[in-house]
Symmetry: C2
Subunit: 245 residues, 2 copies
DNA sequence: CGAAGCAACTGTTCTAGAACTCCTTGGCGC
DNA sequence: GCGCCAAGGAGTTCTAGAACAGTTGCTTCG
């Protein structure tokens, strides 16, 4: 096997994922049976099944013993109010949570990030990586993206000393007033897993948050990875209105 | 292969899980290498690796390419305030969410449930299963456990017509005043997956909530399974206090 | 003393089947 | 018309290697 930078099962997963995400295979479609797919891709059944394992964990397909392999239904968003940030708020519990600066760089933004920051096309952004540590163990990886003009100023600061938010507010006059966040479950990629000291493929909480100044300008786009084994949400509810459902 | 009710990889996973959970293999311990374990269990490397796949998804082990297989560290709890219920609150969004009564029965409570309800020993409880549906698709499975005395009265109600909470309050005088909930990620078991119309093993949000009356009596213990592909948490934050971090 | 290369250890990928298990459908008998 | 059984289709489990890839430690050379 010469120079197999990407495993064959991975390439197959990629190929099928592409077909699913571009609509060629709508939700509910049944794929060809596994043996036939294996022949089409020129691999063994085992290898094909590994590819399907990947897609299954990504919630793109659903396998039914004796029935077939189906393209899965898409996800659903849901809005919650007054929720504290997941990882960053542990300090409020008196836990020894620390932040470790991992690194930073300028990079070309992928489309999703450019959109979130209100940038056009393939803009340069400043990427900042930090680990949240509990008792010196990583419990969350936070990757922040900022417009490059903002990033140039942030890059001059010592983030081991001054939290990002303070740098933005006091140095740049950018006070974050509100944010929108989406939390889902994900399986950790290789890079994130390495930083977090765990295995790629782990199920994890995955948060994407866009923070805005008071006038609605997006300032930071954050991605936070919190391994499911390191973290669990607990909440106390009080029902003030009897009968409220 | 004669009568292999439980697959060999499953039995192996079970065996290793048992050793991990009873402390014989503390967090951080490195397991024997995979080839050796395969020989010990009398199976091929492939089968042994399937067993490890299972344990890895359960967050019990961590595999490091080139280094070994390690017993993973335990999870961390975190408290959040003022969070609306995940699935049940979708109605607030104007989404066509419905509740389907799946079934109910009296059963002996497992220890975890008896403790949550403040019952002693292996008490009987009333188990109520409901599906939350969005556009007729199941998005959450809720399993509620009530003390059997309460359950006997609840069993007489038509829960397709009257929500459980109203039955408790208006028929039994049990007004739920507060609740404690823990949300983590889990992989769906077979039974839950069947009810939800998806594949066992999917990563999902898993909620356990104990509801109390004003005087602190636990009334209901709920378990909610929400497949990660059907659901994602979105929240809007407002930072009223500049600099609060 | 530091860097590079190699060996050993361990995980990962892939092959090539064979056999078991689940589910659905159609046919046959009552 | 209903129930049971068998067949077909499709997923799942398992075997038995062989080879590739990552990591670490030791040795050698500059």
């Amino acid at each position: 096997m010469l120079r197999p930078r990407i495993p064959r099962y991975s390439r197959i997963a990629e190929s099928l994922r592409g077909r699913i995400l571009d609509g060629a295979l709508p939700a509910g479609t049944r794929l060809d049976n596994q043996r036939r797919l294996a022949r089409e891709f020129g691999v063994t059944l085992m290898t094909l099944r590994q590819a399907l394992d990947v897609l299954e964990r990504e919630k793109l397909i659903a396998r039914r013993h004796g029935l077939g392999t189906f393209v899965a239904s898409p996800s659903l968003d849901y809005d919650i109010l007054h929720l504290r940030r997941l990882a960053g708020d542990l300090s409020a519990l008196g836990e020894p949570v620390a932040t470790r600066f991992v690194g930073s760089r300028f990079a070309t933004a992928e489309r999703r990030i450019a959109e979130a920051l209100g940038l056009r096309g393939r803009s340069r952004v400043f990427v900042l990586e930090r680990l949240r540590l509990l008792d010196h163990h990583p419990i969350g990886l936070q990757r922040s993206f900022l417009p490059s003009a903002v990033g140039e100023e942030v890059a001059k600061a010592d983030l081991n000393v001054t939290p990002l938010r303070q740098v933005l507010e006091f140095k740049l006059g950018l006070a974050i007033a509100r944010a929108g966040e989406t939390i889902s479950t994900i399986r950790l990629g290789r890079g994130e897993a390495r930083e977090l000291g765990c295995r790629s493929g782990l199920p994890a909480f995955f948060s994407e948050r866009t923070s805005y100044t008071a006038d609605g300008t997006p300032v930071v786009f954050d991605r936070v990875f919190i391994p499911g084994d390191r973290f669990r949400i607990t909440r106390q509810l009080t029902y003030d209105t009897p009968g409220a459902r």
